[in-house]
């Protein structure tokens, strides 16, 4: 996977340059107008792993002496010399410790390691100085019920040096805090006593203390969690999942909220509505819309490199395990609360990205594992490093809220003419349900009309004035054909701003040439909540003249993004009934496509963006022959179709974003 991206991409660039030299008068133009890829700006470097080491990364610590340490799900800690691959030589691995229990967090502090095992926060010391740990002391013991899902993460230290950990809820068909302080952010005092800080955490695999000494954690979609998100946690906060409420009756608990009280808002209204009734509810600072950004937010890293890592100093990078990528997040404080936006950043990691840590050279290490949870990156585990190339990507650098809209700042001056065009912008607002069910559909999706466009003189900023803002909603901001002043295209053209609060302040007074007239505006997509209707490509009732199908194809799912069958054989022109039973815990569809077009159709599905879920992620193209709707977990659908007349190998594929590369099979059509 990694080999693929690093070798292939430069080759494309090379071809482009070649073409430019032949057909264009200047190479500068070619450089600026050519198709760009993320790898032009951020280069992925692989840290080689010896063949016999299963480096299923759970924790990662960067040492000031040039080494890094990696803790693994198999309970080992590996010390790695030369991880930066200087002088082109391979990294060197030494087993520092073993026999630990699924170590999902590792920190280096004052010459010793601290790590979270399933049942314990442990201090690990090399007392005799032979480079191998010889002393293992429990800082505190975590209670466990024996459920596999009771993971422990950390430690993370704040600026006072206080130690924090987060504990997963157990999984018993829903998330539950079966053992004490599971579902919580806790502070661990030097004497081992636990001070519970905040609850409502479901799967808090990544958390950090930022430069303002505030704690943020990243959450995964699940029960009570409509989509991935990042939440700022303060003492007494309830971040949404019910499991941890089992322990709010404990005397140490800073929260008194009960499951019974929470049940009163378990009605599918948005979370910000519930928060009006239950004061403990803490809204996420930033929602990461499911599949549109990622599917399993994991670690968070704040860019304190001061520019070594590129133009996003002060912002955050948020990893996604399922999509094997890093997303970007900007935060601002409005009415005293954090909120902000998320943006695509860098895809193409080799496995499920769980840990992010800054290297001493301002590069970003990514530690990976995908065992038990499939990821877009196909490797079982991996260790890579992301390095800024030094080139400036043309990007939306920052989006901030205004009393009447948003201001977008670019990394470089934009072409003012394209900035001023109303058709360069498309805005939608939407939100998720807050309920005990797993995940949520996108709800209340409506376009937001633009009233005015104010462009800064230097072309680096544009302020969008909307006719209305929806407080509490996620705002999708999609840009059209906006070019940089130097002719470069935007590397990414969409972002999602979580507008918990609309800032106070003066609204813009629009000059005549800043006003947008209704007809000048781009055609807004009609938001429709209607159920997908049966179409010629999706016939859900048996045609009356069939009598009975010639063949019934019965399809289910297996864990890890797989159909339970990968091959069918049907006769050309025969009457087929396909029964798809989605017995997985994620949503899936089945799309039957023309031979050799599965990747193309999957890409088109991905590009549908927010419209995707309304269209069951089925793009309008002749390459799609037949399809089911998007099926929720534990639901099924039958479709009826005539097998193609032309014999050949047709593909069926799930086009839900992130699934297509692994979740597919073939239908052999024979004479």
């Amino acid at each position: 996977m990694q080999l693929h991206t690093t070798i292939k991409m430069p080759r494309i660039v090379f071809h482009m340059l070649l073409a430019a030299l032949v057909f264009c008068s200047t190479s500068a133009l070619a450089q600026n107008s050519g198709p760009q890829s993320e790898s032009d700006y951020y280069i992925l470097k692989t840290v080689a792993i010896p063949d016999d080491i299963k480096l299923e990364v759970g924790g990662l610590a960067v040492l000031p002496d040039g080494r890094i340490a990696v803790s693994t799900r198999r309970g080992e800690i590996w010390m790695i010399q030369n991880p930066y691959g200087e002088n082109g030589s391979a990294p060197r691995y030494t087993k520092f410790a073993s026999g630990l229990h699924e170590v999902l967090g590792l920190a280096w502090k004052d010459g010793v390691f601290y790590c979270a095992q399933r049942g314990e926060m442990t201090k690990i010391t090399d007392e005799n100085g032979d480079g191998v740990a010889d002393r293992f002391e429990p800082v505190t013991i975590f209670e466990l019920s024996g459920n596999y899902h009771e993971y422990a993460y950390g430690p993370v230290f704040n600026q006072q040096g206080e130690m924090f950990a987060t504990l997963n809820v157990a999984w018993v068909g829903f998330g539950d805090g079966l053992a004490k302080w599971h579902g919580w952010l806790i502070k661990i005092k030097p004497d081992g006593k636990i001070e519970p800080i905040a609850t409502g955490l479901r799967s808090p695999a990544g958390f950090l203390v930022n430069s303002s000494n505030d704690i943020f954690y990243a959450e995964n979609q699940g029960d009570w969690v409509g989509s991935g998100r990042v939440t700022h946690l303060e003492k007494g906060d309830f971040a949404g999942n019910a499991g941890g409420l089992n322990w709010t009756s404990q005397p140490e608990s800073p929260i008194r909220l009960t499951k019974a009280e929470l049940a009163t808002v378990d009605n599918g209204e948005p979370m910000f509505m519930a928060a009006k009734k239950i004061k403990e509810i803490k809204l996420p600072a930033v929602w990461f819309p499911h599949t549109l950004m990622g599917i399993s937010t994991s670690d968070i890293a704040e860019d304190l490199t001061g520019g070594t890592f590129g133009p996003f100093a002060g912002q955050y990078f948020v990893a996604d395990q399922g999509h094997s990528k890093i997303m970007r997040m900007s935060l601002e404080k409005v009415n005293g609360k954090y909120q902000g936006a998320c943006y695509p950043f860098r895809e193409g990691f080799s496995s499920g990205l769980l840990r992010l840590r800054w290297g001493i050279d301002g590069s970003l290490f990514g530690g990976m594992t995908s065992r038990g949870w499939s990821s877009t990156g196909k490797e079982d585990y991996g260790l890579q490093r992301l390095v800024w190339s030094g080139s400036m990507p043309f990007e939306m650098k920052n989006i901030s809220a205004r009393p009447d809209g948003f201001e977008i700042e670019f990394t470089a001056p934009a072409d003012i003419k394209s900035l001023k065009q109303a058709m360069s912008y498309e805005l939608n607002s939407f939100i998720y349900k807050y309920h005990h069910q797993y995940g949520s559909p996108v709800i209340n999706n409506t376009p937001r009309a633009i009233k005015g466009i104010i462009v800064s003189e230097d072309g680096k900023k544009v302020r969008l004035v909307l006719d209305s803002l929806k407080e509490g909603y996620i705002h999708e901001i999609k840009l059209g054909d906006i070019k940089g002043a130097d002719g470069k295209s935007l590397l990414h053209n969409f972002a999602y701003y979580t507008l918990n609060n609309i800032p106070e302040g003066e609204k813009a007074v629009l000059k005549a040439d800043e006003k947008v007239t209704a007809h000048a505006h781009s055609a807004m997509p009609a938001a429709t909540a209607a159920k997908p209707k049966a179409t010629a490509k999706r016939v859900t009732r048996m045609p009356a003249d069939w009598g009975k199908p010639d063949q019934v194809l019965s399809l289910g799912t297996r864990p890890g993004l797989k159909y339970d069958k990968t091959q069918f054989e049907v006769k050309a022109g025969s009457k087929i009934r396909l029964v798809f039973n989605n017995n997985d815990d994620m949503t899936h569809n089945v799309v039957i496509v023309a031979p050799g077009t599965a990747d193309d159709v999957a890409t088109q599905a991905l590009n549908l963006g927010l419209k995707g879920s309304q269209m069951s992620y089925v793009p309008v193209t002749s390459k799609v022959l037949y399809h089911t709707s998007l099926l929720q977990p534990n639901s099924s659908e039958s479709i009826y179709f005539i097998a193609p007349d032309k014999p050949g190998t047709y593909t069926f594929v799930c086009t839900y974003p992130g699934h297509a590369s692994v979740m597919r099979g073939i239908i052999k059509v024979t004479k």
Binding site: G99, F136, Y148, Q437, V552, S554, G560
Partner: protein, 614 residues
């Protein structure tokens, strides 16, 4: 009724094993009475019934105590000249057999299935690379006509040496399949050992035998014959001999029709009333007659034919609701289960001949795949499937993930079961010397000890590792698994609440030394192989203060603890030996402990060393 979880549960549950095999492995056992020798054909004077034996791991003979329940071969100068093997009255074909046996140092015996095919019993304590003559081997065949070094052939050593020390009870489980013959008496299939387990460890699986092994009672092969226990070689004792004949059962379904109704129904009864989507004939029960994987009812009607009047046992597994009736009477009432759950069972007294059969499965739970199995069995027969094998989903075993103790000690933390309780803070330590243990860190308690290969971590590291359990690769001796220091020996069984885990250090050999605190006293617990892995030595040391006067080391617990010689104890009726190394046993004594006994020693200060030998 099974509480059906919400959707997301799918992934973990699917990884559990659902198989017809699990149903087959339930043997309905018959005890072989050992109150006297009447279970056997003529017994020579060497054979006698006893109450128990007592032994030392270095002694070549047993002490026998009077009583019943133990069959002993008391081979001595007096009995030896006439000593012969012993044969059971019962004759067997296919058979499941389990038993405990015990041999003193250097002794030799054997269990001969059908008096012909031997599983060897031998003192193979400490043998690193067992051969076809060692304990648990399938003994070789013998042919004088073969060249000198080739006379013995087709012997099978055990896959690994799962033996315990001499004088300790060992547990054998065997599934044997007899040879088959046609009407003319010509052999059509060889005998097989389908599996042999010694002390819980599989040592043979699916081994075909071309004929009787050496020293069989007979050279020919037959359909049925008695079990034979070898008595002319050495002293041996047997107890808890239990068996389940696996005779064929000629039961079948016929005149079968099915009806398939698709749709979402809240209650199975609604589906039964609805118009079927499709009906047809069937030859056998088959879940694949349902098109959909969920949202359907599949029903079968027909005739069940049984060969004899008897009490029949039924076992059925499916996903959703299911029901079985015979002659209009429910045998398995409507109940919900799933393929990873327990099969539902029922019994019916049936006369020889035909009976009306009806069974249905209503599946309205999407998170588990469809599948349907139904077995019938009567006493002393195999379970016979009334479904086609593809009616159940294919089961792929997870590949083994083994942790080996190589050149340095290996440590693995995991969950482990202690009885039915899942312990969550367990560490297992594998030593290159080949003696390993699991230890509950919170209690400082030794849970189990074993030898040979170290640890199976498949259930931890395959996929998500939902059970998060590790399992010994060798035959374990399971200990009482409780805290080794008591603050107050007068308040047995427990006064260990303030025994605080403080971590561990690795010594120069990288073996862990566990650290605890009780009050102000620092306690270390060091476990290391003894005599190159013949046992494990444990040294508990108290430092920096003294414990209260009543404090005690809890050395061993069991139903019985017998002092065999000064400082050497047999625990729990010869399950393992415990030897106190510290001088004079440090004032140790055996005391009553509930309905059993406990070996304790005063623990004010200093240290105590003792050794587990097995």
């Amino acid at each position: 009724m099974l509480k059906i979880n919400r959707i997301g549960i799918v992934l973990p549950l699917l990884l559990l094993i659902f198989s017809a095999e699990a149903q087959n492995n339930k043997y309905r056992l018959t005890d072989l009475p050992l109150n006297d020798l009447s279970s056997f054909k003529t017994a020579t004077a060497n054979w006698a019934i006893a109450g128990n034996i007592q032994a030392d791991y270095s002694g070549t003979d047993f002490k026998f105590s009077s009583g019943t329940g133990v069959l002993t071969n008391q081979l001595n100068a007096k009995t030896k000249p006439d000593a012969k093997n012993i044969f059971t009255n019962f004759e067997h074909g296919d058979l499941y057999l389990e038993m405990d046996y015990n041999v003193p140092k250097g002794s030799n015996s054997g269990v001969y299935f059908q008096s012909r095919y031997e599983i060897q019993i031998f003192d193979s304590w400490g043998v690193a690379n067992p051969r076809a003559v060692d304990n648990g081997s399938i003994y070789e065949r013998w042919d004088e006509k073969r060249p000198e070094t080739m006379k013995g052939y087709e012997g099978h050593p055990p896959l690994k040496n799962a033996s315990f020390a001499p004088g300790l009870w060992q547990h054998l489980e065997v599934l044997f399949q007899a040879p088959r013959f046609d009407a003319s008496g010509k052999k059509t299939a060889d005998a097989r050992f389908l599996f042999v387990k010694l002390n819980g460890i599989v040592i043979h699986e699916n081994i075909i035998l071309s004929g009787p092994t050496r020293a069989a009672a007979f050279e020919n092969e037959v359909a049925k014959a008695p079990l034979m226990l070898q008595g002319d070689h050495g002293v041996v004792a047997f107890r808890n001999i239990r068996y389940a004949p696996q005779n064929d059962l000629n039961a079948r379904l016929k005149d079968l029709t099915y009806s398939y109704t698709e749709g979402r129904f809240d209650e199975a009864e609604d589906a039964l009333k609805a118009k079927p989507t499709r009906t047809g004939k069937a030859t056998i029960l088959d879940s694949r007659l349902a098109d959909a994987k969920n949202g359907f009812l599949l029903a079968f009607d027909g005739i069940l034919e049984v060969p004899e009047t008897d009490n029949y046992f039924f076992s059925m597994l499916f996903s959703g609701d299911g029901y079985l009736e015979i002659d209009g009477k429910p045998v398995i009432k409507k109940e919900m289960t799933w393929l990873g759950g327990a099969p539902l069972t029922g019994t019916a007294n049936l006369t020889a001949g035909e009976h009306k059969f009806r069974a249905w499965n209503s599946k309205q739970i999407g998170w588990t795949p469809p599948g349907w199995s139904l077995f019938i069995q009567k006493p002393n027969t195999k379970m016979v499937a009334l479904h086609t094998s593809s009616s159940m989903p294919e089961r792929l075993p997870a590949p083994l993930i083994e942790v080996k103790a190589g050149t340095e000690p290996e440590l693995v933390r995991s969950f482990q079961y202690k009885g039915k309780k899942k312990l969550t803070h367990v560490i297992s330590v594998g030593d290159p010397a080949g003696a390993h243990y699991s230890y509950d860190l919170l209690q400082g308690a030794l849970l189990q000890i074993w030898k040979g290969d170290f640890l199976d971590a498949t259930e931890m590291w395959h996929e998500r590792g939902e059970p998060q359990i590790s399992v010994p690769m060798g035959a374990p001796v399971v200990l009482s698994g409780r805290c080794p220091v008591l603050a107050d020996s007068k308040s047995l069984p427990d006064s260990t609440a303030d025994y605080m885990y403080k971590g561990y250090r690795l010594n120069n050999e990288r073996q862990p030394v566990f650290e605890y605190k009780m009050g102000a006293v620092d306690i270390t617990d060091f476990i290391t192989p003894w005599e190159k892995g013949r046992g494990l030595s444990r040294t508990i040391t108290l430092k920096n203060g003294t414990l209260p006067d009543n404090a005690a080391f809890r050395i061993a617990e069991g139903k019985t603890i017998i002092e065999i010689s000064k400082g050497l104890y047999a625990v729990n009726g010869q399950e393992y030996y415990l030897k106190i190394i510290s001088a004079d046993g440090q004032g140790s004594s055996i005391q009553a402990n509930g309905d059993g006994q406990v070996l304790i020693a005063p623990a004010k200060s200093g240290s105590l060393q003792y050794v587990y030998i097995w």
